[in-house]
Amino acid sequence: MSKDNKKIIKEATIATTEQITRKYFFKECFSGMGAMALGSMLQGCDWLGNKDSFNNFTNTNPLMARAPHFIGKAKSVIYLHMAGAPSQLELFDFKPDLLKLDGQDCPQSLLEGKKFAFIRGVPKMLGPQAVFKQRGQSGAWISDNLPHLATVADEISFLKAVQTDQFNHGPAQLLMHTGSPRLGRPSIGSWVTYGLGSENSNLPGFMVLTSGGNNPDAGKSVWGSGFLPSVYQGVQCRNEGDPVLFLKDPAGIDRDLRKASIDAINEANQLTYNEFQDPEIVARMAQYEMAFKMQISVPDVMNINDEPAYIHEMYGTEPGKASFANNVLLARKLVEKGVRFVQLFDWGWDSHGTDGTTAVDIGLVNKCRNIDKPITALLLDLKQRGLLDETLVVWGGEFGRTPMQENRDGKTMPFKGRDHHTEAFTTWMAGGGIKQGSSFGETDEIGYSAISGKVTAHDMQATILNQLGFDHEKLTYTSQGRQFRLTDVHGRVINEIIA
């Protein structure tokens, strides 16, 4: 299909689709689909709810590109999650008054009726352990921990009063990515892929990269498909072995032999199809063809060796090494190739101060050093390629950190650390139709409570979906007899940061 045709069809589709929620689609079209695999369904019953199109069985791809509810500003998302929860007080939320209180007992008023993960009794206040300056035209406060990012402050919209109700990593990460603190719901990337499909039929629509040595606390559920069909789950790109599980031909089967064996499989399948006339067979043949293509396209996009030297310099990438920087560069390559949702998790941000690596003045500084250059490079690189307008970049953790110094089990800790904090933390978004150089939300003078512009994980999710062209209240799926959506019964689009 030519590009123009595609465009016309897309526009025609959008007008009608706006009237129709996903629920309608599934209710009207999926009723009684029974034994048929979903793969065949999505094309068989198109998004317009036209039930008469069952005869087209040849194009059977649940990841086929689809139009959202309205034309979104962003085409893809790169979500950078700092697993463990980075300290807003050492990065973006500058609190000079907190410095004055450093070392003093925390007032009872901040402790009464509150629950902390590890703080017990009366902790001491801990002043900011970083030097802050205002940056760019916007005057955003960014600490010296992120000197490179400081140079692109004017691209970013900060959310300074994000709140959550989960103070443990696993549940809080789940809330951030699935809209629920419990296991079992689809992740945001799955929702987006379910809604939009993939633009590149040789690559999955939702890809995940991890760094820092561990998977996030919540496990693979933060990119799982929950109750959505498993085809929508994030495909994890691996730092070692195959970039995608089972991608590589086994030793002893080269490309020619692989081609010959897939040809044989599909010829045999064609004969089975002639006998049974089951359209599902045709679908399977297409998947084997696609698998063959993916074996080339995935390693190709995952290979950063051929990037020019200045790009490596910009990102601080070292080919062959497992690093956050490499993942960020890969994220750019993936969205360039049409992947809808790229999710990065970097583990190791849990600055409790139990040892040097988790001290806000030691470990945190090192973690910042690892992300500063690559994230800055990502924004600049997307911009120079004209992709920043249509790529939404999201940065954040699962909660914030306390203005008090952690005193685990009521004891004095050897290093300076902060406990988990739910009442206020900072995240940011850039590109994809987000305001440049803005900030929304404020915390009190010590950064303990949000006082204005409060937003939640659900609000961030509603905003991300909105930028992609979805009404978060209408992107639904019926499971266990109930309609579910990413934002549960909550969520407000944060219009204040939308350009």
């Binding site: 993960a117 919540a218 010959a260 049974f276």
Partner: protein, 918 residues
Amino acid sequence: MRFLKIPASYWMVVGSIMGVAIISSYFVSNKKVDFNTEVKPLLNKKCITCHGGVKRQSGFSLLFRNDALAINKSGKVAIIPGDADNSEMIKRLYLKDPEERMPYKHPPLSNDEIALLKKWINQGAAWGNHWAYTPVQETPLPNIEQGPFGLFGKPAWIKNNVDAFIYEKLKEEKLTPSAMADKATLLRRVSLDLIGMPAPHAIAQQFLESTSSNAYEKLVDTLLTLPTYGEKWTSMWLDMARYADTKGFEKDDGRNIWRYRDWLIDAFNTDKPYNIFLTEQLAGDLLPNPTDAQYIATAFHRNTLTNDEGGSDNEEFRTAAVIDRVNTTWVSLMGTSFACVQCHSHPYDPFRHEEYYKFLAFFNNSRDEDTWAEYPVLKEFHNTDSTRFTALQKWLHSNAPNQEKEITQFIKTGQPAINSLVADEIKNGALADTKWLQFRNNGSARIKNIDLTGFTQLYYRYISWKSGGQFQIHVDSAKGAIVKNIAIGDSKGAWKIANITIPQTKGKHHFYITYHNNKINNPDESGVQFDWFHFTNPFPGKELAGYQTALQNFDSLLYAQQYTATPIMMENPFNLARTTNVFERGNWLVKGQEVIADVPASLGGLPPGAPRNRLGMAMWLTDKKNPLTSRTIVNRIWEQLFGQGIAETLEDLGTQGIAPTHEALLNYLAYQLMHQHQWSLKKTIKELVMSATYQQDSKFNKEAVLKDPFNKFYARGPRIRLSAEQIRDQALWVSGLLSEKMYGPSVMPYQPEGVWKSPYNGATWNLSKEGNQYRRALYTYVKRSAPYPSMISFDGTSREVCTVRRIRTNTPLQALNLLNDSVYIEAAQQLARRIKNMVPENVSKQIGKGYELAFNQSISPEKQKVFEKLYRTAFAKYSQDSLQIQQITGDKKAGPSGAALVLVATALLNTDEFLTKN
């Protein structure tokens, strides 16, 4: 088959009467409007969003009849039975003002729709019960006699009663059923369905060679007796039970619960009647003198997640587990989505908000409290510990029968101990990692509301790091009267169990525990940590013979090492009982009115004499009057065999689920299960696979593709991609690798490096050995945060929550998995070797043999050509490259022919017909 024996004349009469009845009712214009099929769908679609269980605009709700007929906020009555014109609901449908006209801000109802509602109200506005909520009645068989007055009898296609229902619908739809599938296809189909893998060779041969007219029935009977049958149906149940070998959150540590999986295998194999099967899983611990097996059955609801993350609120995750048990019970056993009632009344179905919490009260009184050790666990002792236990039990039985139960229960389950993590008001101490009560010098903590009346002995489990410590138990306040002062020595960091005599207290009190140790100088240093406290009585029979030995056995069993521990359900004793409150808007922190355990009013009350606990609930759930339980399971079995339920939404038989394609058949099967088959699942399964419907050829014909692409009417046999488990088991079986070993701890077959990477967890995937790497899929270790890749590729789930049905997908990752996963490469190598051993020469014959091993039939000449072509290409290629030969065959001695055969075997294992039940 009773039905077949009824004389045809009887059916002629019945048939003609029924015919007349149908025709006459059709022509009478004032026929009774049916609430369920006509009114309820309209209300659900147009009204209930604003006037239902979630929203009640103007106080008007259409969910229950008495609500709908009540006076609204406006002071008017929406529905006046018998008087549509004066009913406010009807008036509002006609208004012009968009603010007043209903549905509010939506297109008006059509004239036909309004006419229907008026007619319904004029006829008395009768509420109907949704089909799934009405008791299962004996269902008359449809009349399918042919010819005038049924003179020509039943169509020859019919094999049993199931077919009568199917045939009736096919006729209505003007579809023709298909002929029987050929023997080989049928053999493979029924084997995959009944035992989850191909039939053993001898059984297959016997069937294929038999000319007997009941050869198929014999085959079915044989398959139903194989132990592999239990394994296959257990696979199905594990999804519903959300079975996994890890706890779920964060570290996602291991959990030992495989004894439950083995219990299921045995239960299916012995065809435990379904009502008992459920009762034991829901309330085995509450049966009189429960056996170990009955305790283990209750692990069904211990498959909930446990959160070990430091700093997590144990009560929050205990509550989450209880909520999960409620939701799972409803969705998996009664096909009802109950989860929405957690936050508000059901939007569409007759369940009220508080009824959720009444039902939750059944589960809210279990002993588990999100502890690290997953208490309570049942210990099954082995070896010398088992001998000791038997001796102890025997001694108690004859010498202290009154305390036998309590003491053996404590030894086997450690219950009813008070977990230290329930302590609050902790000073100079903490819940270490939010798991165990830990004290520094001068520490204190409270344990709330405990009744210790009559207890004079305290057992406690602790670790201590300092000698010279003492702990005190006080009543009512930390400075209150000291019940007992207890010296506590240095356990050198090891868990110890100690006991001491304490004076009696009476009534319910808050107990305070304090700890002092003058040897601790550093105020941050901890001295002791407690796991649990158990209040009881001294070991009995001091004066009796054998006392010393019995006591010795008791003491050493406290430290037993040789046992398998399985998390189980146990009820709180009276002194630890919890109350249950409604959670406002579903939020567990906002407690509303207190409720007592009960079942939803719309589904009848508890049966007479049923206790108000889990056992009573199980009695209600498995009562023949329960409309949902039997329908849900027969629908599920149908889905396993035919690929889709009779009601497709297995998880929701309610008014928002997809209506059954054959409601009468579903009712018939449910009734049969309970009354004819006495809850035997094997008999139900047999009835289904003996039907002509099941045995049909699965080829699509043109007529079917157009009229019934999804085979909702069953004019052809089921053709479905195999499940993740079936795909693995079949590949291993056909290649000859499959281990027949049953039971035991889960195993770790080949898995690529780097799939497991949980934080704070050094657990590694250690490839199982000695054939354990070739066990059936249901024995594969399930780590929730990083499930086994090929299970997930083929639509398995990570078992975090109950999955009622898997949605099949068809993706390139599946192709990659089967083409490149070492499991399948090894299977192909082994299959190639097997073929070569059976047919040393002649490529054509070898290929034919491979096909025969996979499908029990000869390959078609066309397919033969395809694989021969692949063989020749591969042979030519491998002839030039000996390294590739070694790599692909894993065999230094292999030649190009062996290598080419491996490639052919890989292709064979990847064909659509191999991955599909044909």
